[in-house]
Symmetry: none
DNA sequence: CGATAAGCGAGACGGTACGTCAGGTCTTGGA
DNA sequence: TCCAAGACCTGACGTACCGTCTCGCTTATCG
């Protein structure tokens, strides 16, 4: 969640959408649409962001949007993915993000969760990701895309780190890492998404401690 | 989460919305609106449910909706709360739900989570609660109402049960129950909401075990 | 053609178009739409007159136009009929137009044709009637309405006058007046509509003379 | 009107439209465009005939149309002229049409008008000529072209025949043939164009009789 | 007990955005 | 260099709902 990766998507050049000829596609327009979509979601919120508004702001015909995407949610999803890619490239980061492995699983997870918190409240990211999450709840197709392209890569890193911890004897070997990671990731996600309670570093640290050592007395 | 209660709301007779005279309110219309709203959300989905559609289906003027509610989300929220109340009354349940206390915290939590799973996939409840959750992500005011009226009461029961477990020495005394419950509630919620993975009894049982005993070797 | 009458249409109060409730209709909007339509056709021409433009100029929602008319041609037709009615009322003319009967059929027809010429080149009338005529050629349904509501009443007056002339022995009794009137009306109409040649009083006088006395030597 | 001639147009090889090099023009495309335009006007009507539709049907790029014509009306006008030429050539008719001169002006005119009626209701000709006439009413530039290229040549033949009749003493010498011909041509044109009344041989015969001998008693 | 004022059903209204169609311009790649 | 193909910006289409507003019509106190 704290991590956005180059993500599988970007390298199948043609025909993600069936009909038009992608080789003739205007990169200028595409980028302008991404920028406009992200800006509008940030400024007026997702529900008041309209395709017409995006087109106008991007200086683009509506048809150019409809040609390549089928809904504002799809536009925003791709815009957000693109934003992630650009953020990665801007840092000159050749390695895709990974969770550090200092040998101390508790410390590493706490560090990652703190970074995740920072990202969740980064104004550039908050509005779009909240909007996409919301849309995904109700629109299953988009929800799956959202999960696969945005969440999954990041979750996989947690799985990897937990497996390493198992190898190092810091996590019990019979634990399923896919489930384990949810103990600390999901609570954070829910608090942030649903405003159920404030999110602080102390909170995420506590989550990691509880998850590692359990609620029951030892 | 598995529980829906009478919930604070129902007994302040006048002026939830400022203007009209609630004593003259037509209960026939109110109920018809609730029914129509829930039916439409179930049949065509939340985004295609419209105020006009609800009014038409309920045989009601649009103004009658706008007089008492300010958005389709509010209508649906109240309709859903009403649905919960009616479900409770139908069972002749005078006591509000509570989590059983057999003395075995693990068993009790597993039972409650299994009941929660059943409710989440009950067709009457799924569409509206998913819709309300989605709307709540993006509309903070509604989100808070949603949390306070629907989630909070149920979460409080978990808190109570965890405190009892602490008194019984089954949960460490320094644990914060508000955070603790998230270890198993949030993962379930997220899997369900975001379709990230299937939800089974085995899964919720595992969550309880992991949460109680931790990931680290003991 | 020189004459616009109260015309049968205006006095069936309800349901010319099936669906909406005509009693609730906004007369303010209706008049604003008529004004806007006529103004736009005069200013930018019929093809560049759009429903959207009419709505904007009239300060009216598009739906208010689509509720009551099915095309811009219909709007313009009714607007034009209304214009005619108002022109008649403005003159305080209680009698519907009629062709004068001085006893001299030649003089009377020449007078009427001169008046017709004046009207054809009246800027308020020219653009809309030309546009409606054009639309009527290609859209048969509208064409029939146009003929029935605008042309027919005026043509009937010519028929009446010709019958009077037959009674007075100025026109041969076996002549069919419906056909006879076309000898001078149609040439005028065609010159005007198709810009085939200029139209002058001398021309219309000549038409009447040729029609009355024939081309062949007597 | 009953006659379509080789007409001035066809033999100025270059630069009717300024820009492109007409010598390199693809005759295949040109013919395909004509065919498509006429077919579409016949099948779906003039208003629903679009440049895109013509291009698609002709298997031609839109630019190929815009390169050589400035509007669908122009395309159709040329297509229609071409159709006339081809019809003439198909009959192996080296002489341009002329009105017969049997010495009996009444009979000759009646014959020509009957032929005109036949042509007006020929399905190949009706839709395009009606469409062009309509467009000409509103678009003065095109209207003049339409008149000059299509109507004028045919009208001139009537003028010639009337002059011959004058020489033969069958038409009064002081009659202006340009005006005279309108007495029978315009009524026919108007009935056909505006669907004001059915057109039959009996009707056109009557027109000729009325025009020649006048309405007044002799 | 009759007046009067509220809620109500209906739905017209001024708007905004939808998703589509076509116009006319421009670019690309193949002949 | 012309042409087919079609992406692009533009602008209008006709539709769906929004939230507001008026209409009569119950209906239920209160003067």
């Amino acid at each position: 969640m704290a991590t956005i990766r180059k993500s599988a998507r970007s390298t199948n050049p043609a025909a993600e959408r069936p009909h038009p000829d992608a080789t003739r596609r205007s990169q200028r327009s595409r980028q302008a649409i991404y920028d406009a979509a992200l800006a509008l979601v940030g400024e007026v919120g997702y529900p008041k962001t309209t395709i017409e508004g995006i087109a106008a702001r991007a200086g683009v015909g509506k048809q150019t949007i409809y040609r390549w995407w089928s809904s504002k949610a799809e536009v925003l999803l791709e815009a957000f993915l693109d934003l992630g890619e650009q953020a990665v490239q801007a840092q000159g980061q050749e390695e895709p993000y990974a969770i550090p492995d200092t040998g101390d699983i508790a410390a590493d997870l706490k560090a990652v969760l703190r970074a995740t918190v920072d990202q969740l409240y980064d104004p550039k990211f908050e509005a779009p990701s909240r909007a996409l999450a919301a849309e995904g709840l109700v629109n299953e197709q988009l929800g799956r895309e959202f999960v696969a392209k945005l969440l999954e890569p990041s979750l996989q890193l947690h799985v990897d780190r937990l497996r390493a911890a198992q190898a190092a004897g810091q996590v019990r070997p019979e634990i399923d890492p896919r489930i384990a990671l949810e103990l600390f990731v999901s609570p954070l996600a829910q608090r942030w998404l649903q405003h159920t309670a404030p999110v602080s570093y102390a909170y995420t640290d506590t989550l990691v401690d509880y998850a590692l050592h359990g609620l029951a007395p030892r």
